[in-house]
């Protein structure tokens, strides 16, 4: 049986401590395995959108020359955490798009770990967080590049959007690189809706809620841009925007 994590654990430091203390320890042992065989391509789409606390842990194993795609929306009403641990084979590719969105007082987080142990693999992560009320959105992204994993190309891009004073986002990129011939691009920024754009949209007749919805849609669209299935893309966008519509 696993020991319950606390916010003293580095990878849980921004989580909701009170929720962690009440977790059923069994859920910590529950990993969803997503394995893609060498040379294959596969996709998984995940939505955390329930009323109670949710912990979703996915262990991705990408075979040599394979591509795994994972897209997720964390939009529940309570503490929710999507944790993704990826091990990449030689020349493998992992594509990730994740969104945390919501208000209230909940903490929603995405925690990823890329394990580049072999050469020539690539990973690309785009994460967007949109929060209001006194909610918090977190992204903790770790990238490990082993000494032999030459020609690794790992990208990580996080942007947070705070709709109201009182909401917060935390971003913690963590890169451990032991190979010398690699590309690891990472960016993290946090901002609010552009007042100029909001006024421009209002001046054309868009009420504030509708203008906000369009701007949020554009903002989180980046996370789903690599999802080629347009129906799936629209479904994830609907889930995310529905959370915005419920905004109290």
């Amino acid at each position: 049986m696993a020991t319950l994590p606390t916010t003293r654990d580095e990878s849980w430091r921004y989580a909701d401590g009170a929720v962690l203390a009440n977790l059923d320890p069994d859920v910590l042992d529950q990993w969803d395995d997503f394995t893609v065989d060498p040379g294959e391509t596969a996709r998984r789409v995940i939505v955390a959108g329930g009323a109670g606390p949710e912990l979703i842990r996915v262990r991705v194993s990408v075979g040599d020359g394979a591509t795994a795609e994972l897209f997720g929306v964390v939009a529940g009403e309570a503490y929710a955490r999507l944790e993704v641990v990826v091990s990449l084979g030689k020349g493998a590719h992992f594509q990730f798009g994740g969104v945390t969105i919501g208000g209230g007082n909940a903490v929603r987080e995405i925690v990823t770990r890329m394990d580049h142990a072999l050469p020539d693999a690539t990973s690309d992560q785009v994460i967007r967080a949109v929060h209001w009320g006194t909610a918090t959105g977190n992204f903790l992204g770790r990238i490990d590049v082993a000494r032999h994993a030459q020609k690794t190309d790992a990208a990580q891009d996080f942007k947070g959007l705070i709709l109201e004073r009182g909401a917060a986002t935390n971003a913690r990129p963590e890169l451990e690189i032991y190979a010398d011939d690699v590309k690891c691009a990472h960016g993290a920024s946090i901002g609010q809706l552009d007042e100029g754009a909001r006024f421009y949209m209002a001046a054309r007749g868009l009420p504030p809620e509708l203008a906000r919805k369009l701007l949020v849609q554009a903002f989180i669209g980046d996370a789903f841009a690599a999802l080629e299935d347009e129906d799936e893309q629209a479904r994830l966008m609907d889930v995310a925007l529905a959370a915005l519509g419920d905004r109290s």
Binding site: D194, E195, G196, A197, F199, Y200, M201, A202, A203, R204, G205, L206, P207, P208, L210, A211, L214, L215, Q217, A218, F219, G221, D222
Partner: protein, 246 residues
């Protein structure tokens, strides 16, 4: 149409408009000219209802309704269009989606039925052609990657689609070359020269007025209208300068 009476407004506590009075009737085009810092853009933003532009006195009515009591999007639904000196880029939102949502929001506020996707595209195609804008431009994100001239042309396409009864155009001529100036001028005439419509043209130079002939010209200086006249006033300003005339 539009009646501004003794309007006072300030930004960050600094008075900019100091008792501006102006009436624009249906069927008229008025030009407001004036030196830098006179308050021209402030007037445009106050009429649009921008945050931070605080009205401290006076009144503005549009078709009898209290304009200052309306939120910016309500002013648009009431028939006002504000053409921006610096149109804003909105990454991730296409012109088509933006304008269809805007038009249908306005129509909804007026109790009219929304346009379908097909109906909207037909309208958009017609107005884009009028301004000689490639329909492909309208499928791109709002103003993103547009040159200064393309942005101004896109503003006029927006005006054509939204079909306001009253337009405030803030330095719509800036950034335009001679050919674009003619296209934009023709667009303003075609879209807004009508007995039930009116335009307030804010401009620094006389050149747009060669294409859009105003019925009245006003000089704005230090927050007030200091001189008014016909089109000949613009010519005099151009040759003699603001200081000599105002």
């Amino acid at each position: 149409m539009l009646h501004i009476n003794d309007l006072h407004a300030e930004i960050d506590g600094k008075p900019i408009l100091k008792g501006l009075t102006l009436s624009v009737n249906a069927g008229e085009i008025h030009a407001i000219m004036g030196p830098n810092g006179a308050g021209k853009s402030t007037l445009a933003y106050v009429l649009g209802g921008r945050l931070g532009y605080e009205v401290t006195g006076g009144s503005v009515t549009l078709n009898g309704a209290d304009l200052l009591d309306m939120d910016p999007h309500e002013r648009a639904a009431a028939g006002m269009f504000l053409g921006f000196q610096y149109p804003v880029e909105i990454p991730g939102v296409s012109n088509v989606q933006f304008l269809r949502e805007a038009l249908n929001a306005q129509r909804g506020a007026r109790g009219e039925t929304p346009l379908s996707g097909g109906e909207f595209l037909k309208l958009a195609r017609e107005k884009a052609a009028l301004l000689r804008m490639d329909m492909e431009m309208l499928k791109r994100n709002v103003n993103v990657g547009f040159s200064g001239g393309e942005k101004k042309r896109a503003e006029m396409v927006q005006m054509g689609i939204l079909d306001p009864s009253f337009a405030v155009l803030d330095e719509t001529d800036s950034g335009l070359d001679i050919d674009a100036l003619r296209v934009v001028g023709d667009g303003i005439n075609t879209i807004m020269r009508a007995p039930h419509k009116a335009v307030l043209l804010i401009t620094h130079y006389q050149r747009l007025l060669d294409y859009v002939r105003p019925d009245f010209v006003h000089v704005l200086a230090a927050g007030r209208i200091v001189t008014s006249g016909g089109p000949e006033l613009a010519q005099r300003l151009e040759s003699e300068g603001y200081e000599a005339v105002a």
